[in-house]
Symmetry: C2
Subunit: 263 residues, 2 copies
């Protein structure tokens, strides 16, 4: 369990700080997966969720008249430059395999067609499927932002709210999940899962011990497919027992091997 | 006189359509100039105001999640692309000496950092110091906008409100203004004037007859300098008589020469 999986930075860090995971040698977890039918288990080694941070950028300029952009800072242009250039600039400093994705959901500046505004605000998300790009971003972002904004005569503020890094499944831990899942649902129902673009603070447990995180099929065949965060989401409750059995089985498999190593 | 100088397209076109200028052989006009002291006259041949249109661009897309920009149209990026690329694209199709200036005063799209919006709106002005760029813009804008927006999966609407073309002073008409002004204020107080970035629908009269448009100094020495469109604007009223005398003198000078040509 981890409280507040999608808050920033997430409840998992509080549990780690409280020492709950001290001495733990493997961590297993699951997430409901409405894209797959009940009775299936999805699991893969490597990253299976993404890092997701929030960006809140405010720009300030002296304002002016659109007839005389050269006498001021053209703040709508500068905000647009940030949207166009910042993702590319940052992307070129990161390993392409880390799947960096900086996408803005909101831009607001100005009110009139012929008045250059004094403020602009951009809201966006920074995601990465690999941990390297996510770790490098806070170092690069302020420098790149300054390089876009300041030569054009404006100033900037960046509020970078860090989310969680990707959940990276450990091959050793995953091997125990696969064995347990084979026993519970049969090997034909144990499938590789793809990396999600969503964030998941379970990832922080990976700093303590190897992770085995699985996707539990919860879709009742024939029912409507409803998004997991929608108010009308429902699941086939037989999935609960299957999930509990796979988690317990994974832990037992791991304990057996860890015990054999010690003896 | 022309009613509604700064409305779009301006009152001058109504007067031309009403036939008020039929048979007119020269047109003289003036504009108060608070940047120069009363007793001075500014006049130059060639363009002395700018064309100024309004642009209102609406973009529409399917919307989506910032974690999955590839499954939709990234509308904040597309709006920013319009701000960055449209002025440059249009500028490269116009004579650089026409001084094209497309500057946006407002951009609005989206509310959340992690939701790709379905709508964006841009407001801006299109100005040109030369008439060629202003005349070519309506032909080029829709094609260029389509080329930026449509390949990225969004749609667009353009509301292009045409203003007036630049006032282009005729050298022959200006020579009469200069002679009349020399007689009224003395040749030391008759000065060249620079082209304004503002719009002025007096320009339409240039389609009927040669224009002689002057800048009448109205600033009372020692008084605060207040913008001409501010509510607290005041002028040195002695400028009114000076302006009337220069306009009447210009017309008389022109009539003398036109009469000499006819006789």
């Amino acid at each position: 369990l981890q409280p507040a999986e999608e808050a920033v930075p997430g409840g998992a860090t509080a549990l780690v700080a409280a020492g709950v995971l001290d001495g733990v040698q493997a961590v297993f977890g699951l997430h409901a997966d409405p894209a797959n039918p009940v009775g299936t288990i999805g699991v893969s080694a490597g990253p299976i969720t993404s890092a997701a941070d929030l960006l809140d950028i405010r720009l300030h300029g002296p304002g002016g008249h659109t007839g005389r952009p050269h006498q001021t800072a053209d703040l709508v242009h500068i905000a647009s430059r940030v949207v166009v250039d910042l993702p590319m600039d940052l992307g070129l400093l990161c390993d392409p395999r880390d799947g960096l994705n900086v996408t803005f959901g909101s831009v607001h500046a100005g009110v009139a067609p012929n008045v250059i505004p004094t403020e602009a605000r951009l809201l966006g998300s920074l995601r990465a499927s690999g941990r390297g790009a996510w770790e490098a971003a806070p170092e690069h972002l302020p420098r790149l932002l300054a390089a876009i904004v300041e030569p054009r005569g404006a100033t900037w503020e960046l509020d970078h709210q860090r989310g969680a890094p990707p959940v990276v499944n450990d091959p050793w831990a995953v091997s125990h999940v696969v064995r347990a899942a084979n026993a519970v649902v049969g090997s034909d129902s144990v499938r590789p899962t793809v990396q999600s673009a969503g964030g998941e603070d379970f990832s922080w447990y990976g700093d303590i011990a190897p992770l085995g995180y699985l996707r539990l099929g919860v879709h009742r065949p024939g029912a409507d497919r409803v998004d997991i965060h929608a108010g009308s989401f429902d699941l086939d409750e037989s999935a609960i027992a299957l999930g509990a059995r796979v988690l317990a089985g994974s832990a037992l498999e791991a304990l057996v091997e860890l015990g054999a190593r010690t003896n």
